[in-house]
Amino acid sequence: MSKAVDINVKHVTRVEGHGNIVVKADDGSIEKVEWQVPEAPRFFEAMVRGSNYDDIQTIVSRICGICSASHSLAALKAVEDALDVKVTEQTRKLRILLNYAEQIESHVLHVGYLVAPDLLGVKSVVPLVSSHPDLVKTIIAAHRLGNEMMSLIGGRRTHPVAVKVGGFSRIPTESQLKDLKKKLEDSVPKLKVIAEAVLGLADKLPAFERDTEYISITNPDHYTFYDGDIFSTDVDKTVDIHDFESVANEYVSTQSTAKWTKWHRDSFAVGALARFNNNADQLLPLAKSIADMFGLKKGCCNPYFNNVAQIVEVVQVVEHSLKLIDELLEDGLDPEASKPPEVETKACEGVGCVEAPRGILFHRYKFDDNGICTGANICIPTNQNHGNIQKDFEELVPQFISADKSEDEIRLGLEMLVRAYDPCISCSTHYLDVEFV
């Protein structure tokens, strides 16, 4: 081993936001391996201070264009937790459908537009139109379905406006829900086409495994994205979401402007693979068949298989959406049941948590007597994955070098690893909150 490796990838392409990959090695000796996040802070936790409780979700949904509904839902749940606002079962189910719309949109966007080009050896999805026209059209159609579902439930394709504290400003009609159900049913064969296409390329996913702590929410009743307690593959007991800071343990890394996290080990992973590893026993039949098709089993520690878990989850949320719509239609939609209630303000504090497409998302807010926000803490999934990406790098780079991979092969392997985590770096920057006395 005599060659030198000098990789400095500024701004990994095709992920939201900016990140750098730095590798320096000489003669088999590794001098530096770093996953850096240099993006500027965005100050959302400061921005919401002084805002009314009712405006929080509107503001924080702008944190991200891809997972805006998750931020809205986490914020609403935190506000409702603080102000003791209870929502009806109808509202809860409609919100889960909104979350599912985002999972479909985001996972399909990621697998179809960002990962597929890697697996097919091209630089973007555009060249695939010539080589795989039907696949690209199928991906666009599946993404469109998520888009339409988001628009129907949330009132807009992104940054939902219909969701309110305690309910909805408007809900879909029965006819609209029936139409959505038909589209979801029609999507199942298309999703199988996407799954089979990825399966045909699955041998291109690097065979890299590193024993990892996986964290997600869990619920004894179902494979959850919306409600549950915090669970880790490392321990048997769950943690209440109100104690999320004791799980995330955010800290500052000198190589990043974003905070990093750790719990039982130096790092942990969140996202589709984490949810799968913690909750796979609760998958619905069709989703389980897709997991079986890939040979994906609980305990998988190959981070590249996060993409496979995303495909499984798209099928899971479509399957569960069909059940939820049936239940909503059977019970009969009632606008009054989702009408936002009168809220009595008080000095209070609350926590909300949902599974965003990229992993577990926490929001905490404090309010004064008048319902004005006096403090916020938002802990996003991409930040929770940064430390794990670094740890993967540290184990993967020596393997690449030992295998005498070229610099280009190492660069591509590391870029693919970062993309496998589906990072949304533009919404992950999170500066220190200091007070000078």
Binding site: G65, Y113, V129, V136, I140, H143, R144, R157
Partner: protein
């Protein structure tokens, strides 16, 4: 200037604001279409919509439309505050694509995807607005804020002009 595309079943027309309203002037496209919606200063029969930073959503909004208009923050080498109208072809040939907002790459990629899948609107136009500053912040620079009415009026006039030309060509 116009490049007509044959697109089956094209129907309806739309004006879409593109951008991130938490990055100062990057969100000017969204702010302009919000202004147009509020004032009603846009051609009859057009939908108004907006997308944030998720540029691929544009595909679903504009594909197979008759006329689609995208309004976005654009680095064009102009003085701050200048608005320009151009087609995707012009932007490519003049390399303007390398400076079209923070989400430029994705937006152009989305347009290319539509071209290659036969989903392009029959007529597609960009309105680019040169920013003063793109940085974290939830408002526009004073210069662009003052010009919102002017932008809305200009876009309205230009679209009406395009409609007249299309009608003349079809006559």
């Amino acid at each position: 200037m116009e490049t007509r595309r044959e697109s089956e079943n094209s129907s309806g027309s739309i004006i879409v604001g593109v951008g991130n309203t938490t990055m100062l002037d990057e969100g000017v496209g969204v702010r302009v279409v919000q202004e147009m919606r509020k004032s009603g200063n846009y051609p009859t029969g057009f939908e108004i919509d907006e997308v944030g930073a998720s540029s691929f959503n544009i595909i679903h909004l504009v594909s197979s439309k008759n006329i689609a208009v995208l309004v976005d923050c654009a680095y064009m080498g102009e003085d701050p505050g200048v608005i320009r109208m151009f087609t995707p072809g012009e932007a490519e040939s003049r390399k303007i694509t390398t400076g079209l907002s923070l989400h430029e790459g994705d937006l152009i990629q989305a347009v290319r995807l539509m071209e290659h899948t036969g989903a392009m609107p029959k007529w597609l136009y960009f309105f680019g607005i040169e920013p003063v500053e793109v940085a974290p912040g939830d408002r526009l620079s004073p210069l662009l804020e003052e010009k919102l009415d002017e932008y809305a009026g200009f876009i309205n006039e230009m679209i009406l002009s395009v409609i007249r030309k299309i009608e003349d060509a079809d006559a």
